[in-house]
Amino acid sequence: MMTLSGCARAAAILALAVLATPAGATTWTVDCSSLSNSTASNGTTMMTGLTPQNALGTVLGTPISPPLFQPPPVAGDVIQINSICSEDILVRIPGLTITNDSGSPDTLTVGDGIQGQLEFAGVGNTVIDGILIGNDSGPFALGAADIANLYVHDGASVALKNSQVANGPFIGILVARSSAVSVIDATVSGNGNGMATDNANNMGILATSSATVVLGNGDGTGPATIETNAGSGVVVSDGSSLVVNAATIAGNATEAGGNGLAQVLLLGASSGFITGQNAAATTITAPSAGCCQAIFAGGASTLDVEQGAAIVGNKAHAAIALDASTLLLQGSVVSSGVGASSPGASEPTIHGTGNSVVALAGNNNVCFGTPGPGATCTANSGGIALGVDHVSTLIQVPGKVLGYPSASDTVSGGGSVLLQSTVDLGLGLVSSGPSLVPSLSWNTSGAAINVAQNSSFRLDGGTNITGALKLTQSSNGFFNQSSGGTNTVSGGVACNFNTVPATHVAGPTFVSPTLTLAGSMVSVPKGQCLGF
């Protein structure tokens, strides 16, 4: 390993410093530490006699004035802040870096920052590094026209690094109209405290109108933390996108009365890509004693959860709930139901309703209970792991649709299939080390898989269900081995009815144990299925 002498090291540091500030760029210093003599300087000229309420705006501009320091900063300049500047800022200059004055921009300095709305209108390539936006110690007030601590709109883009967006009365970060914010090694917490029951204005992050939010770096580093906001952690609406590369989203929806929303909420044809980077980089957790799901996707939204993301619901609500939306799930751990005293009354761990689609792409652990290492689960007996209703669909799809090798899905907990919904499972045998194993291993854990109300249930081979499958109310079962392997339902397949049998099965010999079907409609024993 090469070592550097003192002089060489100093030269290297100097070189890095030069590299950090683009050639020709100016480093500005805004010192808001004095109530009556705050200053702003571009290194050659200093404005004095300023206050914490106007020093930063003098350099960057405000909602009622462009920069008064002339000429103002230009793209590539660095703005260093000392102490807390208390005013609303409106930036119309692209390419600025706004940081602390500690000399360590990669580290948050909570004593340096902005207490006011920091707004970026249509400007790209802004970097905010190592500062506090808001108040570290508790709630503070914003102006009557303000809406967020950090407001990025109309095609603007901001990289928020090593910073904290904290304790604002309204939204923490608002990203609107084709704008983008990436949150790297930064925290968004305690916001929305002034709008405790107004779910439209109290979330940690809101992306609306084709906006984009990225949490963490693409390699799984730089995790974002979204916590203790009064409303949701992250809301993505109106054709917007969320990318979660590395994040912890938990403890949000703290508002009184339990009227909160999910930790992550997608609406209006929005999309979410959530990955754990195969390194447990991402965890999204619903409050154990609070409301709502960890993730809720509605209104034709799409959700892709993969590579070891951990999604945790609570004792009453799902980890992932879909309403007229789709989920593609790969390699992730999804759980709920811990502490549920009546597990059967809880929402399923994954719940799709209203023409939703749940697609399992392999290597998932879906657990109504406490997941353990690998694909293990200490199930809370009697709970439902997978539920689809109202014309929804649960299917398995090959991992290759996401570029991953085929692997087995593990499910622990019952199943609920209602109101014209469809289940189609089994991709044959898949590799597990030197062995081939069924593509699905489902232990119903004291419950069963109940299929009712005009629904369909099909196994295509490569499925191993430990528990019972119950078909009722004009629902039908279909069994084949077209994907390879066999189908096992250890507790058997039953077709229950009270008066008139109305449930059919096709392929009774393609499931073990095999079924004996009724020979006619007239004399069907209880529990026996009709043939076609």
């Binding site: 462009p66 119309r92 109309d154 109209r177 084709s178 107004d198 014309v391 014209q420 109300q453 008139v500």
Partner: protein, 534 residues
């Protein structure tokens, strides 16, 4: 913002965009006859506060052949730089500058400088541009108080390549405020390729006279990941209005979005356009809050007031109201599209369903809606002889808890019959609202709720149906009180069949369904209209 959702977001955007105190002001004169003129009023420096001498440019002739003063300043489709400006005035057009127009400049212009504010000089209402204002990749362009239209003499654009009166594309953003975009030969306001157009207290009317198709003849159009915003941030009576456009009101294509948020209920108006008032396709989304969509004022080629197809998403709330002409629906969904409605009023005359959902679409009611097939007398729906809901081809009508979406609970009131076909599903009833009011009150009028062709119908408590429910052709009914309250179907539930009984009902008790239906005791002994039990 405190009470109006996202409305303050856009209000703030507009306010912020108006502040450019230190920037230069350019004065453009387009007198209509004779030379056009340009001068600049300097801000800052030695010339602060002074106005340059006036420079003459070509007279307006409605073409780009010779640049008028506005084209020379802003750029045109053919000449995107204004090279003569700096030489003549010592400064050039820069971000933050204001351009004041006196008269009506007959010129297509192309703006590539971000952060410009283009406004009228006299407040007369006639200052503006006859031609296309193109915003090419430039952000935060403000167009305030202008009359924008085609060449007044020909009624057409100067170039066949012109798209719209305001055309923002390739990442551009334009805020059109207190302006009138009138009689565009094609589109009124157009956002393309990840661009945004905000319409604040602005009028768009008469678009599409030369191309009255559903795409390039509409009042406002967003395509390819673009967004439209409609708002009236100052809450004054002059609000945004999209009216009398020949190819439709608003169209969204390919992952685009519309947010219409009213500070004053029903002051944003999309009405009296030909065709559809709002059309969404290709995974686009629209959210209307407090917006009036007056499809009932349509005169020509009228379609559904709002139509969403191709996995698009529609969200209506905050006292949004929708009307349609006879024979057309208020909302039509197709191809995996979704509607979420809360606190919305929809009225259509008999002849078509008020809401129609087909091909894997979903209608979700989140409380406080009035769905009327008939006429509205100001407080209630009367003359309900048609169909309120038509749900078919594997589609779903469902009640959803208002709190899941941040709404307040309220009763959904439906007037008109229901048709549920081809493997579709209806699931209604959220218990009671305020302790005793059923969450759903559905008066079928002279019709019924007819469920057929392998479909399902479920009530979960808190549902009152004044009328009949008929299950047939392999369709089944399910009744429970899981959500609290009771279920009532005053006209009873029946299962008509001709030869073979094939419709089932889960045997309900009196709370789950009142009156309790007369069920067959066996398959062979079922009589006409009797349902089979399971």
């Amino acid at each position: 913002m405190r009470t109006g959702g996202l409305c303050a977001v856009f209000a703030t955007a507009a306010l912020g965009a108006t502040q450019q105190a230190l920037a230069n002001t350019w004065n453009v004169g387009c007198p209509g006859a004779g030379a056009t003129t340009l001068s600049v009023t300097y801000v800052g420096g030695a010339m602060d506060g002074t106005t340059s001498s006036m420079l003459d440019f070509a007279a307006d002739d409605g073409t780009d052949a010779a640049l008028d003063a506005l084209g020379a300043l802003l750029g045109t489709p053919a000449q995107r730089t204004a090279s003569t400006i700096a030489t003549s005035f010592g400064v050039t057009l820069s971000t933050g500058d204001t351009v004041k127009i006196t008269g009506s400049c007959q010129q297509d212009v192309t703006i590539t400088t971000p952060g410009l504010r283009i406004t009228n000089a006299t407040g007369s209402g006639s200052d503006g541009v006859q031609g296309q204002i193109e915003v090419a990749g430039a952000r935060q362009t403000v167009i305030n108080g202008l009359l924008v239209g085609p060449n007044m003499n020909s009624g057409s654009f100067a170039s066949a390549a012109d798209q719209a009166l305001v055309y923002a594309h390739d990442g551009a953003s334009a805020i059109v405020q207190n302006s009138s975009l009138a009689n565009s030969p094609r589109v009124g306001a157009f956002a393309a390729n990840a661009s945004q157009v905000l319409l604040l207290d602005t009028f768009i009317g008469g678009s599409g006279a030369s191309v009255p198709d559903f795409e390039f003849g509409v009042g406002a159009l967003a395509i390819d990941g673009s967004s439209l915003v409609i708002d009236s941030p100052d809450s004054n009576p002059t609000t945004t209005e999209i009216v009398s456009n020949h190819g439709g009101g608003i169209a969204l294509f390919n992952g685009s979005s519309l947010v219409s948020t009213s500070a004053v209920v029903s002051t944003e108006i999309i009405h009296a356009n030909d065709g559809r008032q709002l059309f969404l396709t290709g995974g686009s989304s629209a959210r209307l809050t407090g917006t009036h969509v007056g499809g009932d004022e349509c005169d020509t080629h009228c379609g559904s007031s709002i139509e969403a197809v191709g996995a698009s998403s529609l969200r209506l709330d905050g006292l949004t109201s929708i009307g349609a002409v006879a024979g057309q629906s208020a909302v039509t969904l197709s191809g995996s599209s979704t509607l979420l409605a809360s606190g919305t009023l929809m009225i259509v005359p008999a002849g078509a369903a008020t809401i129609e959902a087909s091909y894997n679409s979903v209608v979700a009611l989140a409380g406080g809606n009035t769905i009327c097939n008939g006429s509205f007398n100001g407080s209630t729906c009367i003359d309900s002889t048609g169909t309120a809901f038509q749900i078919d081809h594997v589609s779903t009508l469902i009640d959803v808890p208002p709190e899941d979406f941040g709404y307040t609970a309220g009763q959904d009131a439906v007037f008109g019959g229901g048709t549920v076909q081809l493997q579709s599903t209806v699931d209604l009833g959220l218990g009671t609202v305020g302790g005793s009011t059923p969450s759903l009150a559905w008066n079928t009028g002279s019709g019924a709720i007819a469920i057929s062709q392998n479909s399902s119908f479920r009530l979960d408590g808190g549902a009152t149906v004044t009328g009949k429910v008929k299950l047939s052709q392999g369709s089944n009914g399910f009744f429970n009180v899981a959500n609290g309250g009771t279920n009532t179907v005053t006209g009873g539930v029946s299962c008509p069949f001709t030869a073979m009984p094939a419709a089932h009902v889960v045997a309900p008790n009196a709370s789950a369904l009142s009156p309790t239906p007369d069920l067959a005791i066996g398959f062979l002994s079922a009589t006409a209209n009797q349902c089979l039990p399971f």
